[in-house]
Amino acid sequence: MNAVRWLFALLVLIGLSAAANAADVPIPPSPTHWATDATGFLAPQTVVALDARLRAYESSSGHQVLVYVAPTTGATPTEDWTVRAFARWKVGRKGLDDGLVLFVFPKDRKLRIEVGYGLEQTIPDATAARIIRDITPELKAGKPDAAVTSGIDEILAVLAGEPRPARDSAAAGKNLDGPRASSVPNPVPVYPDTGSSRFGEFFGEAIGILIGLLVVAGIIALIMKLPDPPKGAYISSRGSGFGFFDALNLIGGIASIAGSFSGGGGFSGGGGSSGGGGASGSW
C-alpha cells in the first residue's frame, strides 16, 4: 500500500521537475562577470572595459551593476524574463536589493534596465526610461559599444547622485527622482573567485541528487517497515509517526539545501528582489 503511494509521489516529483526544465528560453545561471556578452554583439575590449569598471564600481560603492547581453528571450516577454533573471541571479546585496542590470537582446532588438527595490528611489522609471531613450539612437545607428558604454556612464552618474548629463535640450525637466536612497555603509561583500563556478555547480547538483536518492531510499525502507496508520487517523498519515507530509518536508528541505549548495559559489549578491521597476525600449 505505502510502497504504491510512494511510487506515485516519486513519479509526481519527477514529473514536476521535468515540467520545470521544459521552459522555453530558460533563465541562464548567474553570470560570472559584471559584463557578459555571449553573442558577440559588443566588441571584446568593450566587455573587458565595462567589466573592470563595474567591478571597481561595486567594490567602491557596494551597488552591483551588471551588463548582460543575450540573444533573445524567446516567446517570453522581455520584462517577464528580466525580472525572473534578476531574482534568480540575486543581483544586489541581501536585504538592500541594490542591484541593477542593463539587459540587451540584439535578436529581439530590445533592451531593458531592471532596477532592484533598493535603487528604485535613485533610479525611478522615468529616469531609466530617459537613459534608454538616450542610448537607443546609437543602437539604431549600429554603434552598440558606444550605446552600452554611455548607458552605463549615465547609470553610474545617476547612482552617484550627479545630475544626469544633459544630452538633449529638454533635460532640464522637473526633478522626479525623489530623495536618494539611504546608502548604508555596509561592508563590501567579497566574492569568491568565480572561475570554477561551473564545475562547482555541477558538483553541487550531483551531490544534491545523490543525497536526495539516498534519503528517498531510506524513507522508503523506513515506511515499508512501519505498520499502516491506524484507522481513524485519516486526517493525516502523520499517524504513523513519520508520515507522508514529514517525508515530503524532509525531501523539500534536502532539495533546498542541495539547491542553495549548487547555487552558491557563483556571483550572486544575495539580493534579487525587484518588483519590475525600470524601463524597456526597442530599436
Binding site: 516577454p77 520584462e79 517577464d80 525580472v83 525611478p124 522609471d125 522615468a126 531609466a128 526610461a129 530617459r130 534608454i132 531613450r133 537607443t136 529638454a170 533635460a171 525637466g173 522637473k174 522626479l176 491506524p230 481513524g232 487517523a233 485519516y234 486526517i235 493525516s236 498519515s237 502523520r238 499517524g239 507530509f245 518588483g275 519590475g276 521597476g277 525600470g278 524601463a279 524597456s280 525600449g281
Partner: protein, 199 residues
Amino acid sequence: MNRGLIVLGGFVVIVLIAVMSLAGTYNRLVTLDQAVQSQWAQVESVYQRRADLIPNLVATVKGAANFEKSTYVAVAEARSKVGQLNLGSGVPNDPAAFAKFSAAQDGLSSALSRLLVVVEKYPDLKATQNFSDLQAQLEGTENRIAVERRRFNEAAQTFNTTRDSFPTVLVAGFFGSRFNEKAYFKSQAGSEVAPQVKL
C-alpha cells in the same frame, strides 16, 4: 480492567495524534493563506500607484490644445470607479469581490490604453518632458502590476494546491469559509501587457 485501560490509552493516543496532525495542517494552511494575503497587499499597492498617477496624467493631457475630451473623461471615470471600490480585506477569498476588483481595474487599463493610443495623434504633447516622464512611470507601473499579479497567482496556486489535496481538503472544509479557495487573475487584453507606445 487492565484491558479497558489499554483500550482507553490507545483511544487517547489516537485522539492526540489526530489533534496534532489537525493542528499541523491548520498551521500550514494559515502560513500559505498569509503568503497570499501579503501578496494581495502588493497587488493593491501597485494598483494604487497607478491610480495615483492618473490625476497628473489627466491634467497634462487636458493642457494640450484640443485634446479629445472623451478619452480623458473616460480615464477619470474609470479611476473614480476604482477609487469607489470598498471591498475591505479578504478579497482573494471572495470570488464576487475579486471579480469586481478585476473588472474595475481592467476598465481603467483599457481606458488608459485608449488614451495612450490617442496621444499618438498629438506629437507636441508627446514631445514634452512631463508627458514622456509620465508615460515612463505609467509603463513601469503596468509592468509592476503584471509582476505582482503573476506572483499573486503563484501564491494563490500554492495555497489552492495544498488546500485541495487530500487529506488537507477535509480540514479546510471543516473551517468553512476561513480557507476558501483563492481566486486567480485571468490574463486580460491590455492589463497583462504594458501598453506599448513607440518612444
